[in-house]
Symmetry: C2
Subunit: 376 residues, 2 copies
Amino acid sequence: MSSQPKTFVASTLFERIERARRRKTQFRDTHITLAHGSGGKAMHDLIQSVFVETLRNPLLERLEDQAVFTVHNDRGLTNTPTRLAFSTDSFVVDPLFFPGGDIGSLAVNGTVNDLAMSGALPLYLSASFIIEEGFSIDELRRVVASMAVAADAAGVAVVTGDTKVVQKGSADKLFINTAGVGILEKNTRISAAAARPGDKVILSGAIGDHGITVMVARGELELESQIRSDSAALNSLVQEMVSEAEEYSDIEALHCLRDPTRGGLATTLNEFAQASEAAIRIHEECIPVREEVQGACEILGLDPLYVANEGRLVAVVAAGIADRMLCRMRKHPLGCDSCIIGEVQSEPRGIVSMVTGFGGTRIVDMLVGDQLPRIC
Amino acid sequence: MSSQPKTFVASTLFERIERARRRKTQFRDTHITLAHGSGGKAMHDLIQSVFVETLRNPLLERLEDQAVFTVHNDRGLTNTPTRLAFSTDSFVVDPLFFPGGDIGSLAVNGTVNDLAMSGALPLYLSASFIIEEGFSIDELRRVVASMAVAADAAGVAVVTGDTKVVQKGSADKLFINTAGVGILEKNTRISAAAARPGDKVILSGAIGDHGITVMVARGELELESQIRSDSAALNSLVQEMVSEAEEYSDIEALHCLRDPTRGGLATTLNEFAQASEAAIRIHEECIPVREEVQGACEILGLDPLYVANEGRLVAVVAAGIADRMLCRMRKHPLGCDSCIIGEVQSEPRGIVSMVTGFGGTRIVDMLVGDQLPRIC
């Protein structure tokens, strides 16, 4: 948690690519560590070798943050199949309440965002609570009220749920799972695998606010800060982006879309680069990081590229619509600090690199280990 | 856990009804207890006063085990809206492995059943894991393999997921949430509120197997038994039942359908009686209970009516189709021990009563307290 990520250790591209290849076939971990929940490499390896290998099916293998499928309604004669998005996330954030949000609003926004990143309109959420015996019902009410406010703001309804209670000591206060269903009205084909050389990478705002806010809120660091979590529902911003592509260009010009949560911006870009078999180059000076976040990261030995966000998105779009898209995003309150941070190249495939403030270039690998456990 | 449920304490109908009315407006608990997760009265009160009151919407207020809604696909001109079912459940069962199942198969079957009880064809599941640091990856593989087998058997696919890891001591080994989406192809209107005086109550098999199996598997009781959990996916049985109603009568003759999990048969019948504002009378001698389950219940001071099941269903059907439905159910491997256990009456509203083996009648209330924590 305290050491700098391994991205700073030099190794050749060849070594890295070979290591990545080996990793796919060699998963030899015997016990779960915090790194397996970090959003980074260890988690990807676990998901690939335990979950995807065992549960094998084409939708799961796509490794998107949501499944998109069509349902066929046999009751009409000329029905077009309905395209739906479906996603789930469990929330174990510690502490439960922090500046800018709490586990309740986070649980709503997180699943709304996972649905929205496919271009879907989020419609309905489920909410499932695992509560530790002895938890305060007043705090539970606060969390549920916060979910209600967040759901209203995002235009979704919590329509089904479940409650489990475990003995004192068998869980830490409160965990919430939300799953969600959305509808794809437009013919979007957004995918982490859709980045093409020449595309531009757009980031919707400053990075690291959520992760640093939660770290500071734990009170273990003797840091004080005015930073607030960026937790927000991004579905209305995404709808603007889908409309922009549809109205002024081609809806398929919107290639990749993802919210960089656990593992941060660096991990999301690596996911795009690997799934698309392309290279992504970003420019350090273009990436907005608040001064306070930068300062906290320096004290804690963290790299803001790996710190979690809960109200930001990264988009990869065709170069021809990048400027227009940027303008449209900046008109939205949640996209007003959007900027183009880089571009997609053909080689070296699967690799993310960053032109640093000093003019050098360094490789930006996926998160190794876990900087910040229980951040969401 | 060890005392007999309060159903044995005599009180007048009037007192009970008044108490139930008062309960609706007075929820004064300040801290979560195991009873709030029991499936019984305390849980219903918590759900009503905290979740439903706060998250208010017509779908949630129906208090079904799944939400049923229509999605409108604007892309076709003459489209019939598609009716979907959506449900969620978190699983915290202790121990993780027990005769007849494990947390993985339970998590698949549980959500498949919640979808099926609306008459829906379950299609897709999500799976979200909260894992304690230090958990064995071999055990995780076993659980996931069991989910894969259960999903295949039920004809569903796990298409999206999430993994969280918490520090050692912050969760007990492994919790799994599944949510699911199903499609309603037939015009079923199944609801806990649809029971009508004259209807028959059908139970699909012996009660209490799951709960007693899990209790014995904990190894705390120095009991040995050959009992296995009844955990199973009931969707194919439900499809037979829907077909029976549709082909030989009226699809709307299938009134209520629910799987009696936490809180057992007694709680499910109370839910039907209350939602339908009707009385349900059952006959003790008609309710199948395995000898071993009965014996274990006597030793433990439990009433099998309140013990959890994970592969049984209770149906309320129009009297005219009851015998035919029973025949059809008995032809299915998961319904071969089905029997008619009672009938719906008009008065006293909201009350379940049982004609005992001795010929007397006793009120069967909802579960008070928690007999068996972490049973699913």
